[in-house]
């Protein structure tokens, strides 16, 4: 094998998004289970999660190369090829997400959107009503509250799978994906690095898109019109 190169693949917005989401996810887990006394903070943090996820969706269209859906959502052939590498534990140098990881990103984002979406319509049968609960019947709000509780189990499962996958990469394929998500830098074969030309979008654009996402959440929550 030829020499290794250090390639910057994850921009700061992606990394900040990821780790903020981890912290918020832990808090949502705790505050969701801790009971009604934490509900108020659960709701507030939920708005933050929704803002972050909406930002990430926008960043998937307007962000840096490896943040874009178009760059990491690949066809079945690539996924099978990737799976084969994983099974044989042969290193498969992908600068951004590997094909399976890419789809996992989409699944995680969709599950989070569903979680936030159902939360907006939920109620706790005491005093809390999600900001959109008044748009649907009580029975529907109750149903969506139930889905909110159930979908969290799915999220836990997905998060667990995500963690197992990166640990598998670290343990069996000698790929330090976790470190890369902190530093943004991946170590990979120089040959593969050459093909990893990355265009980084401006962090100011990221900030602007985050503001757009947060403003959209504000409009959903306050419905000033």
């Amino acid at each position: 094998m030829q020499g290794e190169a250090r390639v910057k693949v994850w921009d700061a917005p992606v990394r900040l998004f990821h780790w903020l989401l981890v912290l918020l996810f832990a808090f949502m887990f705790f505050s969701g289970k801790a009971g009604s006394e934490w509900l108020e903070w659960h709701v507030r943090a939920g708005y933050a999660v929704l803002s972050l996820v909406l930002f990430r969706v926008l960043w998937g269209f307007f962000g840096s190369t490896h943040a874009r859906f178009g760059s990491f959502l690949s066809g079945p052939a690539a996924c099978i090829e990737c799976l084969r590498h994983l099974m044989k534990r042969t290193p498969s140098p992908y600068a951004g997400h590997n094909p399976l990881g890419g789809w996992m990103v989409l699944v995680l984002l969709l599950a989070l959107l569903f979680q936030a979406g159902t939360g907006l319509f939920s109620n706790d049968d005491v005093l809390f009503e999600g900001p959109l609960a008044s748009l649907v019947s009580k029975a529907m709000s109750d149903r969506l509250s139930g889905w909110h509780a159930w979908n969290f189990n799915l999220l836990l499962l997905l998060a667990g799978l995500h963690i197992v996958a990166v640990l598998y990469h670290a343990g069996f394929m000698k790929e330090n994906l976790i470190g890369a998500m902190f530093t943004g830098v991946k170590r990979m074969p120089a040959a593969a690095a050459g093909s990893a030309a990355t265009r980084f979008a401006s962090p100011w654009l990221a900030l602007a898109l985050l503001c757009v996402a947060a403003f959209a959440v504000f409009l959903i929550v306050k419905r000033p019109f």
């Binding site: 009971g35 009604s36 006394e37 509900l39 706790d124 049968d125 005491v126 005093l127 509250s145 139930g146 909110h148 509780a149």
Partner: protein
Amino acid sequence: MRTKLLAAATVIAALGGASLEALAQAKPDVLVKQRQAAMVLQAKYLGPIGAMMKGAAPYNADVVALNATFLENLARMPWDGFDASTKGEKSKTKPEAFSDPAKFKAAADQLESATAKLGAVARAKDEAGVKAAFGAVAKACGGCHDSFREK
């Protein structure tokens, strides 16, 4: 006249007792409906006070007094509906409501005492007292749901 009235009252009281007994023998699915009805009405009368506490609606001492009095009475109604015979009925009640009756009773008592306090200050038109007492009522609702109701 007086004796007749007394006799009538005795008959009515006896009938009342009889009907309470009949309630205790109500079918499990009916008991579930009845306890849920009590809860639904609690939500009805809690909601407007909650809106006033949040500042979403202007404070109205008369509405608060009426609603708090209703709540105080409604708070005593659901519990005999959690009869052991309802264990297998479809509802959001967790098994713990039946397996840990002491804790369940404590949670029920908490709501009764919290709503009694709220009723007293509400009827006295004591706005500051209502603000102080309201939190305990909401907490009693939520606390009991956390322990005994499925999400």
